[in-house]
């Protein structure tokens, strides 16, 4: 009797297993045929850093504050920057990343005051030597740098005008208030 129930249970479990495999048989394969198609990268995937485009500038908004360079635990970022004519902030002249050292900790993204650092979507970089992993982050922005500078100057000029206008308004308001005060005293 026990044997019969054993056989029955064994047989049922076999059929169940076969059900599992046949279900998978009719599903779509999960394979991504890599060179022909590419996997969709997750939003939080960490990778080499890049300078992100800012909409109002049409380029990155790095101000060469060197905070990322200072906080990087692997010392893989090196930036030099200089002040440009008509700009309040500095602008980077070189922005080099030694990706071979980078541990993708993400601290540089956290400290960036203008939020212009982000992760690249390219996950399949490969190279034959260490030098292949020295990335120049400004490379992709070289072509648009002149126009970006123009836009930045324009923005800066507008800001200056606004400031002037506000100062003028403030001064007028102050003068008016003083006048009133004087009047009060006389009265």
């Amino acid at each position: 009797m026990e044997m019969i129930s054993d056989v029955y249970r064994g047989f049922r479990s076999l059929l169940k297993g076969m059900g599992v495999t046949i279900r998978h048989f009719f599903r779509k394969p999960v394979t991504v045929e890599y060179p022909r198609e590419r996997a969709v990268v997750s939003k939080v995937q960490r990778n080499a850093i890049v300078l992100i485009e800012k909409d109002d500038i049409g380029s990155h908004n790095c101000i060469a504050c060197l905070q990322c360079e200072k906080i990087c635990p692997s010392n893989c970022i090196s930036i030099t920057g200089s002040r440009k004519d008509g700009l309040a902030f500095k602008r980077p002249d070189t922005f080099d990343l030694n990706f071979a050292l980078c541990s993708e900790c993400g601290l540089c993204l956290d400290v960036c005051p203008t939020d212009t650092l982000g992760y690249s979507k390219q996950y399949d970089k490969a190279g034959y030597s260490r030098e292949d992993f020295f990335y120049d982050l400004l490379d992709q922005w070289k072509a648009t740098e002149e126009t970006a500078l123009g836009t930045l100057r324009e923005i800066e000029r507008k800001k200056k005008e606004e400031r002037e206008a506000r100062r003028k308004a403030d001064a007028e308001a102050k003068a008016k208030a003083k006048e009133n005060d004087d009047g009060d005293e006389k009265a």
Partner: protein
Amino acid sequence: MARNFTEIFGSVWFAIPAAVTVIMGFLAINALMIVWMERKVAARMQRRMGPTERGVFGLLQTTYDMIKLMSKELITPRHVSRKLYLVAPVVLFTPIIAICSLFPLSENWVFHDYDIALVLVLAFSGMAVVGIFAAGWGSNNKYSLLGAVRSILQNIAYEVPLILSVLAVVIMARTMSLHEIVMEQSTIPYIVVQPLAAIIFFIAATAETNRAPFDIPEAESELVGGFHTEYSGMRFGLFFFAEYSSMIIVCALATVLFLGGWQGPILPGFVWFFIKVYFLIFLMMWFRWTFPRLRFDQLLRFAWLLLVPLALANLLVTAIIVKLI
């Protein structure tokens, strides 16, 4: 068909090589298809793609593999016992050709309809053990020998329930001619009347062909390649070929005995025959990618303590019922 061959070639001595060539071609094409199918089925059950590069859906992949095997150097290791080593693949493969000539593919498509075709099929399939043993012993290698010993033990154990379940069919059909057994099933196939015998037959057949979950003779993780460890190139290819050919044979036999052979509505006979055979082959692949491998003692206990008594009881009941009716 045998008569046709003799007529075309004038003499039986030309007809036999011609027939052998036809069967070899038939087996080769089918084996290539089945290997491709196996790889595709395996891949899909694991949510992979399988071969996709060569030909449509990778159909030509197995042909490329065969060409590669054929062009490889045949290495004979120095420590083998040469005669046994060389003769083993041939001994293994020859009976398969003989068996293939016995199946009725459709009503008129049969080389020769022997009265005792069933006995011939079983006898020839028993001969494969000799080839396996020659390979295992002749290779002079512990893995080969262990693989061969396991294979023979398993074949002996499972031949008993296999033949007992076949006997039940023979008792019902009152004939051993494959053609007549198929004709007997014109109303209902025997799987309906003999479900237990059909299940036992198929389990035993899976074990006879050394396929998973009964593939301990070549359990890769334990025995490297089993009895064909020492073979390379087309000699290995012949073992591989024989393995897949014997799959075709047991599935064809199951089709003839239990599924009504070529019989079926609308479509011509041989189409039905191949549909049924390929369905059974798919079932075997399905088994392979579902069930884990048995341990050896489990395997033997399963054969002797469960399958043999069940098959005997089934045979007894069948005999009594047939006698009473």
